[in-house]
Amino acid sequence: MVTEYVEGSTGAELNKREFKVIGTRPPRPDGIDKVTGRALFGADLTAPGMLHATILRSPHAHARIISIDTSAALAMSGVKAVVTSQDFVKQSSSGNQDTLDNCMARGKVLYDGHAVASVAATSVKVANAALKLIKVEYEVLPHETDVDGAMLDTAPVLHEGRKFRNIPEGNNANVSGYWEFGHGDLDAGFAKADIIIERSFKTAATHQGYIEPHATLATMGPDGRGEIWVCTQGHYMVRDLSAAFIGIETSQLRVTASEIGGGFGGKTTVYLEPVALALSKKAGRPVKMVMTREEVFRATGPTTSSSTDIKIGMTKDGRITAGQAKLRYQGGAYPNITAMLGAMTAFASYDLDAVQTLAWNVLTNRPKQAAYRAPGAPMAIYTVESVVDELCQKLGLDPLEVRLMNAAKKGTLSSYGPTFDEIGLVATLEAAKAHPHYTAPLGPNQGRGVSCGFWFNFAGNTSVSMNINEDGTVAVIEGNPDIGGSRASISMMAAEELGIPLEKVRTIVADTNSIGFNDVTDGSRVTFAVGLATIKAARAAIKNMCGRAAQVWGIDADAVDWVDGAAVPTGHNAGEFPPMTLAEIAADQAKTGGPIAGHHEVNVDGAGVSFGVHLVDVEVDPETGFTQIKRYTVFQDAGKAIHPDYVEGQMQGGAVQGIGWALNEEYIYGEDGKLQNAGFLDYRIPVASDLPMIDTVILEIPNPGHPYGVRGVGETGIVPPLAAVANGVSHAAGVRMFELPMSPPRILAAIDGAK
């Protein structure tokens, strides 16, 4: 059959399509390199003549920099270059200037660990010794690390004199963003309720916790041309920012993405790269920079912490009549939009007549927050889903039935504005209700938690090229770092569309000079957007190949179709010539007009939205407050699972990150504003023995915006676990928890407090 898809296909049509490669579970193309140790990550490359650079970081949470004297460091034997904020170019956009100032403090240090200067030397040891010779004179200022504290009029102001857009009267100078969403008459909605619950919640900042620390190798010659090797989620982003920060044109900088040892949103910005490039420019030699784990915690991407008030009204039979959320997020020392995303997602699972969400983003003396898997959504949905659970408990209603009764569906006016198209929440809830997990008996001190989750998917700028090689193999060239197995799924979509065996396709992630622009690997976009561009690039190649066959056969190009990996004559020529396979067309390409390739460059639209439902059984030790996860099942709509293993992997990984957030992970600051747990010993991510198997149920409600129905799956999995675990703990311990993480001391205090 012809592997053609009709623009505007509905979900039902997509469901009918028969796939040969899509939906199978072949081994990943980068697998052998990764199990043999051959794969090259950020810190694995060296260059002849390479220097090593390290960073001097602020010991203060908030201080004015009076002076920096680098002369003694520069005079030290083995030191080749020193940079401070003076060595970078002022930026025209405030967002880029913030990113630059976060890479190298300008005027003030805004958090413990803020970079102040950097030294490139012949070894890490020499560079570290030189850092000690840099004299920085600080005027220490009062600091604030708590979101509610930073909103008080008495709070120290981080950015004096800076004006932020759309901030209503009555907010102090640390409020960097304010947003409102919703619809309907809130008062009327609450008036219809039989019961109204109002609660306040707090969640701690967590870190993405990728195991690979940030690392880069940069080199810049006297000709003003640079190269960067780096572990990043987006090497075009690294190119654009690094070039702008040192004042060169993007064409002069070529960036290659290494294998990346985890990102989860935390590698969607720059920290070391512009610094290494600036040092290399000064020293005239390659410069390598690798963060220590302590630096990763002190100076890179934690999430926002939050403080939220929720009010929800419900009728006795479980219909939600109105919902309101006030979300206050601190995202560290620079503005961001995470509270806004929290406000957009908080009530997105529900079909509501009256809903309002208000969001404040607040500046504090903490590291500049970075995106983390569905940024803003987990903590917002945690609060809503906790209150919905409490309402169900008080009314004696089944939590899944209530969610089904109120679930958003096609035609629902979403709480953030638009009306939903085909979405999979109801199907996901029904799958959870029908699953044996939901009715399995519970033991003593055990409780079962349920939560819905929602996240947007994003698409964006994408370029894909596809070369048809003379031996009948295909090279796919794309530009998005592979963080979860995307080279496998891209290869699979190419093979599917071309109608050839998967092993004939090899996908590579090219450097910034080898293919067109690509947005960062974020927003669950790669399988969706790069997949879409790959399918369209394949169609371009197919069109070319059909034309070659037509020429050989001496018939009209329109009279050739592409079936199962071969050109076939159609219409009145049908059956006149035997099919001409891709391999045959490829072999003769020089004779039929030259190299055959297909490519597609597009700002992709049409990303769907994604829903998941998580079920968890927990057991709480009433004497210690220790929580054990006994059973866990994830239900998620994938649209179409290209490689089900990797879809399951995303669901499982997201769930476990959420479990960590719920139970133990937190940034702990002392009175002095210094981070107290900058290491994996006391920043406690889940270990293997903390967990059971994570069961998964993939639902496939096709996304009409993708030829194969794909939805992004990378982020949604982290959204429901916070509330699912909190609800489970509340049932197991017999006391409701309002603060994350639910570490044993907090749970035990709540249990003892309720006695």
């Binding site: 697998g31 199990v35 043999t36 195991i211 294998e259 985890g262 990797y646 293997a688 967990l691």
Partner: protein, 158 residues
């Protein structure tokens, strides 16, 4: 301060390197021997990405001084496959899609190999506790545990 000359055996080969007294075995393997399959995730023994076998004993190479390797035997992930033939554990990790980013994979493989040499028939709980020092942030461990259990079964059968 002079460097220390170390003669050791790495993945069965006699290897010599010069190191500073304060350098770790991890530094020496990566920077002097070129075995970058050994990864640094923390430098403090908390993540297990730098796991190697030292005289047959599973250790974090970041918690061993490079000088201590004198006269001893070190095995890394690079020594697991036999030429083109992957070790059963390597194959099973691929078959079960038990890796995403892959940065923890070398450490997991070395640790799992050490487990199966000591205990060919571990329970799920034993595998989970043995691997508790190997942090993985991508997978939630599920597929890793399944892959190790499957490898154990196949190795027992072989």
């Amino acid at each position: 301060m002079s460097k220390i000359h170390v003669s050791t055996t790495i993945n069965g080969d006699a290897v010599e390197y010069l190191c500073e007294p304060s350098e770790t075995l991890l530094d020496a393997l990566r920077d002097h021997v070129g075995l970058t399959g050994v990864k640094e995730g923390c430098g403090s023994g908390d993540c297990g990405a730098c796991s190697v076998e030292l005289d047959g004993r599973l250790v974090c190479s970041c918690l061993v001084l490079a000088a201590e390797a004198e006269g001893r035997s070190v095995n890394t992930v690079e020594g697991m496959a036999d030429g083109e033939k992957l070790h059963v554990l390597q194959q099973k990790l691929l078959d079960h899609a038990a890796l995403q980013c892959g940065i923890c994979t070398p450490g997991i493989l070395v640790a799992a190999k050490a487990l199966l040499e000591k205990n060919p028939d571990p329970t799920e709980t034993e595998v989970r506790y043995w691997l508790a020092g190997n942090l993985c942030r991508c997978t939630g461990y599920d597929k890793i545990i399944r892959a190790v259990m499957d490898a154990a079964a196949e190795m027992r059968g072989a």
